[in-house]
């Protein structure tokens, strides 16, 4: 089981737990504002954009080239950007803090 913290752009904190699925699905299930997941998680809409807390990049790993190409043109892009539909929930993620980009 992984405990994941989302901090929205209005500084609301939502803590959610899961053991499978994608981080985007968890965010949508918990109504995290700013995470829409319009395309259902196939990396085509960039509506699940988060910034990974700098201390936690080792938990999430880096974006793939296809994901990075999408992110590069997204609003509020920075070097900590990820599309959270591309982050799978696992024990490794436990304790991660994600800042919603939009």
């Amino acid at each position: 089981m992984a405990k994941i913290t989302f901090i929205t752009s209005d500084n609301e904190t939502i803590v959610a737990e899961a053991d499978s699925g994608s981080v985007m699905e968890l965010a949508v299930a918990n109504s995290v504002s700013g995470i829409d997941g319009d395309c259902g998680g196939v990396c085509s809409c960039a509506t699940c954009h988060v910034h990974v807390d700098p201390d936690h990049v080792s938990k999430t790993g880096e974006a793939s080239e296809i994901e990075a190409d999408m992110l590069e043109l997204a609003d509020n892009y920075n070097e900590r950007s990820r599309l959270c539909c591309q982050i799978e929930v696992s024990d490794k993620l436990d304790g991660v803090v994600l800042h919603v980009a939009n």
Partner: protein, 388 residues
């Protein structure tokens, strides 16, 4: 048995995409440079300053509608910063398809169309399935009585086209005159429909004008008609020839979301959309002049082998699928939420109710973009629907 190729949609852009990255189309003496690679399409869509949508109304559409339309479509033909006020205003309304009640009503509509098809010996899908489904679903998006769909079904398949011409001003005027009347009716008798909501809305601290309301309504009608009809029709053709995919959706409904994105990628119901260049610049290492036109070819970008493995195959559970069938960036498709729900519910109900479908005859709709001839859908396709 019919041959297994009616649901194949070849990629006519491959050679030009790999060798040059662009193609050229002459359109009413206002030529268009079509961008064919996913990366170029995205970058150009992102750069709304140099590649504008807020040009003369109708000019970013290919074929150009400047000779048949004066009303600016909103927010489609408005760029930032003005774009944001309009988009923020309409966005919540166009997200209503995410609500459970909307989805229940949409399921009823789609089940109804499928039941009708199952009862008939054979169905011409474009006219007697997809047009009906699209029109009835639009009553939900507009929040108006179901019966109104009869009027739109009566207009036939094309609102802007007749049999022999791509642009038909008389046909377009049917829609524009209809919308004028509906807006007048909503002014006299406000309700909870989209017309009334828009008439009551404010942007930048002032009420929307009648012309602006009309601009949003033309976009809603025009943008969601041929595109949805093609997506639905082509999906029927695909499942008719790939019964195992339909069985798989019945067994694993959790992959329906991925299936929808993949069908939309593969079919790319809108081939491309134009932009007007605002300064001398380069695209794809090629000079383009101010006031010329480029287009973002979604259909080609979706087959770019640099990004998509097996681009010419429908991989029904494709996991990474950064397609651009709903556009990209600021002007991405306002109706995408509605369209995705239509296709997801179509997949679900087909998988539940339909055992098999058989294509008995089909006439392909081939678009002519000079050097490229692209199959985008069907002029007609006859299908037998068999109960599960």
């Amino acid at each position: 048995m019919s041959e297994m190729n009616k649901s194949e949609f070849p990629d006519p852009f491959e050679k030009a995409r790999e060798e040059r990255g662009f193609g050229e189309v002459n359109d009413q003496n206002d030529p268009v440079k079509m961008l064919l690679r996913l990366k170029d399409v995205r970058k150009t869509a992102h750069n709304w300053k140099t590649f504008q949508s807020g040009a003369e109304p109708g000019r970013i559409v290919v074929p150009s509608e400047v000779n048949i339309r004066d009303t600016r479509q909103i927010p489609f033909e408005v760029d930032p910063p003005e774009h944001k006020g309009y988009r923020d205003l309409v966005e919540p309304w166009f997200k209503r398809p995410l609500e459970a009640e909307y989805q229940e009503k949409l399921t009823e509509i789609i089940s109804g169309v499928i039941d009708e098809a199952l009862e008939q010996e054979e169905v011409e899908v474009v006219e007697d399935f997809s047009l009906k489904l699209q029109s009835r679903a639009l009553t939900l998006l507009l929040n108006i009585p179901y019966e109104e769909s009869e009027v739109w079904i009566g207009w036939g398949k094309h609102v802007f086209r007749s049999e022999d011409t791509d642009l038909d001003a008389d046909k377009a005027n049917i829609l524009y005159d209809y919308l004028d009347k509906q807006i007048d009716k909503a002014m006299e008798n406000p309700g909870e429909d989209l017309y009334s909501v828009l008439l009551n809305s404010e942007v930048d601290g002032r009420k929307l004008t009648k012309e602006e309301v009309k601009g949003v309504m033309i976009l809603t009608f025009a943008g969601g008609r041929d595109t949805v009809i093609n997506a639905v029709t082509n999906s029927i053709a695909y499942f008719a020839e790939h019964p195992k995919s339909l069985q798989r959706l019945a067994a694993e409904p959790e992959i329906i979301g991925k299936a929808v994105e993949e069908l939309v990628r593969y079919f790319a119901p809108l081939t491309h959309m134009g932009r007007v260049v605002t300064e001398d610049t380069q695209v794809c290492e090629h000079a383009v002049k101010a006031d010329s036109r480029v287009s973002l070819c979604w259909a080609s970008a979706n087959r770019d082998a640099k990004v998509f493995e097996n681009p010419n195959e429908v991989v029904i559970d494709r996991k990474v699928n950064p397609h651009v069938s709903f556009g990209f960036g600021t002007h991405n498709c306002l109706g995408a939420t509605h369209a995705r729900q239509i296709l997801a519910i179509l997949c679900k109900v087909l998988a539940e109710k339909v055992g098999s479908m058989e294509i008995t005859s089909a006439d392909e709709n081939i678009e002519d973009w000079d050097e490229f001839k692209r199959k985008v859908g069907f002029d007609s396709i006859n299908v037998k629907f068999n109960k599960k």
